[in-house]
Amino acid sequence: MGALVDITKCIGCESCVVACRLYNGLEPGQNEGYRTAQDGNTELAPNKWTVIQSHRTEKSEKQIRRFVKQQCFHCLEPACASACFAKALQKTPEGPVVYNEKLCVGCRYCMIACPFGILRFEWDKPFPRVLKCQMCLGRLADGQMPACASVCPTGAITFGERDKMVGEAKNRLTSNPDLYTGQIYGVKEAGGTSWLYISDVPFEQLGFRTNVPEKPIPEYTWQVLRWTPFIFVGWGALLTGMYLYTKRRAGVHEEEEMYAPVDDDGK
């Protein structure tokens, strides 16, 4: 499944943020209250799986303001899941990349791996979790859309099969070339993501990471890792060979006679 966010349609009302909070039972922290994009940007947090960030920029010499919904991109080939050595993060066949706290070791390598810097860690808990958007897995199973998409009053979020969403994005770009920039963010980034964005302002002005490689991130790792068995066997064999070869020439020595404990008083 996939979602298409049309940045031109978002008015920054944050209904999606509230819906996410209610559906997933995310309590605001102490002294935190409900800060909105109007008060200044909030960042993703363990209890904020999606936020709206506002960006001021210029277009045709006019000051404008755009709102960007942030959440996990649910990559088609997620770097976070490939980095996790405990299989706590996994890609489900339907699309969501989900986290299972029972398996997690808390090593935070997934956080190093995510090319979008999405994951959040519970730094103040003795047994912290790594949290992020789960694409409302339970709702998808019931055939519903994610909570955020279902409440958007302006139709900025469209939800459906990812292929259809890519098609829809292309339609909008071609039918309105004067408005949109012509780029669909998420089609190629990190090998493709389930969340797609179209916009009338270049993405680099909206805080998107524009240096994300197009090659699926796990492939980099795999290119290196797949050598492991060969190195193991080859290097092992080479060492054994050298060991046997040089052993014959080496003199016999009585190792045990050679060493002794040292005196701590320096005698």
């Binding site: 980095a83 090593c107 730094w123 003795p126 912290p128 890792l225 080496a250 050679m258």
Partner: protein, 389 residues
């Protein structure tokens, strides 16, 4: 020749180290109860800090002395280096234990630490690191068992260990080769995050190669310090002749580095005056080229001060490189800010203090160092002769 009692004299300096260890233990307990955020400055932009960057990455690299001397002495049978072999193994073993302890401190859900043994996330580099480090620490304990049972008599066990030792030695070189390199591979995944001066598809090669050439330098430093502490004659001829291993490997390292930068078309970034480029230049000039030159000049490498200083540069350089990968190179993409808290630093100091204390205890109670009067026993001492040439 066996001593009868376990000895460990408490001096003022050792008392200080013990205090550091106690402080580190106390802080760790606090961290386990109140979470990582309560003692560290780590945050979502900087999920890995001092403990992973220094204690784990550097600790393991510094323990490289174990596998490079094992290769030189036990596989290539260059027996003249035997006098330093056991001390190198010991430092390496303690280094690994420190690294494992700091890893344990750093993982959030530590009661789950065993999971990767059963849930095979084999597509993760961390999986390889985890397995190799655990296995290699076990192997090192077995290797050390051979020495242990010379002091604590247990003939039947010692015999089995001795007979299987060649196998452990070889596994004990293959495993660290793999995971020294995979510590580098950990960062392959940070393709758009680590600065291109350090990110490379062959970063695993740079990591394992530098861990290897660091070994002899580490042995030199450790041997010199131990000789001073215990008022012995340092094994200068061994140190001097080991420099050629390090020097040639560093020359290769430097050449490959330049070729790699050129190949990826980022060579010019090394000179663009940014913070990253300056750190990179310091790394290359002060910590790679300078020691190569010092090792190349006989009048420097044959003097104790010379070989010692150059070795300090080599070791500091590898630490500097790892820090650049973990911090300098990631700074731009991470945003945010990280500097370790006093607590984090204290824990690190405590762990390295523990290393010194354990080292002293073992050296004073087990046959690790070569006997001083080696030359007089000429009959069986081929190794001894070459040392004292």
């Amino acid at each position: 020749m066996q001593k009868k009692h376990w000895t460990f004299r408490i001096t003022g300096f050792r008392l200080l180290l013990i205090l550091f260890v106690i402080a580190a233990v106390a802080i760790s307990l606090y961290r386990f109860i109140f979470g990582l955020g309560s003692v560290t400055n780590l945050n979502d932009q900087w999920p890995w800090g001092l403990w992973i960057g220094f204690d784990l990455l550097c600790g393991i690299a510094l323990a490289g002395g174990g596998f490079s001397t094992a290769l030189i002495v036990h596989v290539l049978h260059k027996e003249k280096y035997l006098p330093i072999a056991r001390a190198a193994l010991l430092t390496s073993l303690i280094g690994y234990i420190i690294a494992l302890v700091s890893l344990f401190l750093d993982i959030g859900r530590w009661y789950n630490f065993w999971r990767p043994f059963f849930f095979w996330g084999y597509h993760s580099v961390l999986f390889e690191v985890f397995w190799c480090i655990s296995l290699y620490t076990t192997v090192q304990i077995l290797e050390f068992g051979d020495i242990f049972f010379e002091r604590v008599r247990f003939p039947s066990l010692k015999k089995i260990l001795h007979a299987t030792m060649p196998f452990w030695l070889i596994i004990g070189i293959v495993l660290p080769t793999l995971h020294q390199s995979s510590l580098g591979s950990l960062y392959v995944i940070a393709a758009n995050r680590l600065n291109p001066l350090w990110w490379s598809m062959i970063i695993p090669f740079f990591f394992v190669w530098s861990a290897f050439f660091l070994g002899p330098a580490m042995v030199t430093i450790e041997g010199t310090l131990a000789a001073r502490a215990y008022r012995r004659e340092p094994e200068l001829p061994v140190f001097s002749s080991l420099t050629s291993v390090t020097m040639w490997m560093m020359i290769v390292y430097f050449i490959v580095k330049v070729i790699d930068l050129n190949y990826r078309g980022v060579f010019s970034q090394a000179f663009n005056g940014s913070f990253e480029s300056n750190m990179f230049l310091v790394e290359m000039i002060v910590f790679v080229l300078l020691p190569i030159v010092m090792y190349a000049v006989p009048s420097i490498r044959n003097k104790l001060w010379g070989v010692f200083t150059a070795s300090v540069l080599v070791v500091a350089g590898v630490v500097f490189n790892r820090m650049n990968v973990v911090f300098t190179g990631m700074a731009q993409s991470a945003g945010g800010h990280y500097f370790p808290t006093d607590w984090e630093i204290l824990v690190t100091i405590g762990m390295w203090s523990a290393l010194v204390l354990i080292y002293c205890f073992v050296v004073e109670n087990f046959p690790i160092m070569p006997k001083e009067n080696l030359v007089s026993h000429e009959s069986s001492m081929t190794a001894g002769q070459s040392v004292h040439m």
